[in-house]
Amino acid sequence: MRQTALNTVYEMAQKDSRIVFIGSDLGSGTLEKMKAEFPLRFYMEGISEQYLIGMAAGLAKEGYIPYLNTISTFFTRRAFEQIAIDLALHNLPVRILASGGGMVYAPLGPTHTSIEDFSLMQSIPGIKIFSPADSVEMKNLLLETVEDPQPLYIRFGKGGEPIVTDADSSSVYTPKVFGDLASELLICTTGVILQEALKAREILNAQGIPLEIWHFPYLGGTSDPVVLNRYKDYKCILVAEEHIPIGGLFTNLLHLFNKNKLDSRSLHQVSLPFKYSHNYGNQADHLAFNGLDAAGISSRLSEILRH
């Protein structure tokens, strides 16, 4: 997913002189072609995330569209104020390409796992938050959002995920609908958890249980007209997100239900816990441990149905 994103930035830079790439001490070989072809629009800066955001703001203020890349938490935690003031307050079109969303960096420990990034970013007025499910959606997202005037936060998955989105599907601002339209069960999800949700649907379908899935590559898409009038049709809506319980997709739906006087008793959640993990292993271990893998999601839905 990251490689696709960087390649796409390079492709866009070839056609659009406003595109600038800024990295923070990323590994050697990162976008070497872009560096060679457009040396004035390629910056590999030091380990200095506060500066990176401000510098990108300065470039964006002058009409450039900077794409920044480093590890998610280094932006969202360390440079939070710069994101709020330099980018959001000034409404500048900087794109934060956040590597290692969720538990991708589980083996590296809690300094690197990005479990509250949605919450942090969603608390800032004026930023759009995206979490694509695979590299095809990643590319579509970058191409479609290039003219978006606001700052964007884009969470990367680990990479190498199976392609589950359609190359010429609908806008990334709009929820993507998968599954069985006659279902009373719905999973709302974002990012790579779509992969697990789709596998969970296979498990439930094998048991004769239909299931619909709505994937929100754009976290602000919960009030999209495509889905807004349909929440009420479901007996059970399970929100599955690789994030702490608050401040993410579930929180967005609670607000939406409250605002639209919908019955929130249909809402359930499976998420990471509200604590920093001291376990390592890998992302899959943590998804399974927290019930966010296909088995966990399907059994949670079965359990809800039994009650």
Partner: protein
């Protein structure tokens, strides 16, 4: 604004009176920091910057960021003096629907390049602006004014390292070196000396001036270069400069409540010199 070299000439007094008017009407403000940087700003806008109050976002303008946003009363007075907005607007300072807040905002105030207030942001943004000029091969220049307390912030030094790395000769940084910050003398809070040597070590071409000497200010700010080391002006200043009773007083760094009668006393002291 060319009137010899005494900072308390007719313009210097008039600008200070504008600041005191705003302070009176707002009932609060950072007076000491404003008087510390006022003479730098009057020379910058009067004799150095390419700028146009009729077209404040002109592409060829020089960019100026007041990174120590709490000095905004000085910026407002100078912008009003140049016609960015009527002088009467100063009397709305800090009121609910005023364009002039306690820190400067580009969204509300004509002539404010970038919103500042939380310290340590302006230099990074200035590096981005200077890089943009370089990419497009344009000749406008970028100026950033920092407080000497502000340079406590680590983000300033991140930006400084990168400004030097990129040889941003078209970037000019000014440090308002009044040796005081909110809680007292800087040497007792966090001593940033030796200021000149620090910036030299970070790759800057450093000039040292009296920040209230109009000729020295003009000479230092007018050096025109586009490549090579970025420039850093250490401007030795006095907090509250112009009214002896508030000079070098941390009490006058910021006042959240100021009575009109107190402002009357300051006005009397200013004009009686």
């Amino acid at each position: 604004m060319n009137s010899g070299n005494h900072f308390l000439d007719e313009t210097g007094i008039s600008l200070r009176l504008s600041i005191l008017d705003a302070l009176r009407e707002g009932g609060r403000g950072h007076l000491g920091p404003a008087f510390s940087i006022l003479d730098i700003l009057r020379v910058l806008y009067g004799e150095v910057l390419v700028h146009d109050p009729i077209e404040p976002t002109s592409k060829i303008r020089d960019r100026f960021i007041l990174s120590k946003g709490h000095g905004c009363l000085a910026l407002y007075a100078v912008l009003a003096h140049h016609g960015y907005f009527p002088r009467e607007v100063l009397s709305t300072f800090c009121k609910f629907d005023s364009p002039l807040g306690g820190h400067p905002e580009s969204a509300t105030t004509s002539g404010v390049e970038f919103s500042t207030g939380s310290l340590g942001h302006g230099l990074s943004v200035g590096v981005g602006l200077a890089l943009a000029a370089r990419i497009r091969n344009e000749t406008w220049r970028t100026y950033v004014l920092l407080g000497d307390g502000e340079v406590n912030e680590g983000s300033i030094w991140e930006a400084a390292l990168h400004a030097a790395k990129h040889n941003l000769g078209a970037l000019c940084v000014i440090v308002d070196y009044n040796k005081m910050q909110a809680s007292g003398n800087s040497e007792n809070v966090l001593d940033m000396s030796p200021m000149v040597e620090k910036w030299k070590a970070f790759g800057f071409e450093v000039h040292e001036i009296d920040g209230h000497n109009l000729i020295q200010i003009k000479e230092a700010l007018s050096i025109n270069k586009t490549v090579g080391a970025p420039r850093l002006i250490v401007a030795h200043t006095t907090k509250g400069k112009g009214i002896p009773s508030i000079e070098n007083s941390s009490e006058w760094h910021h006042k959240a409540k100021i009575k009109s009668a107190d402002v009357d006393l300051l006005v009397s002291e200013l004009i009686s010199q």
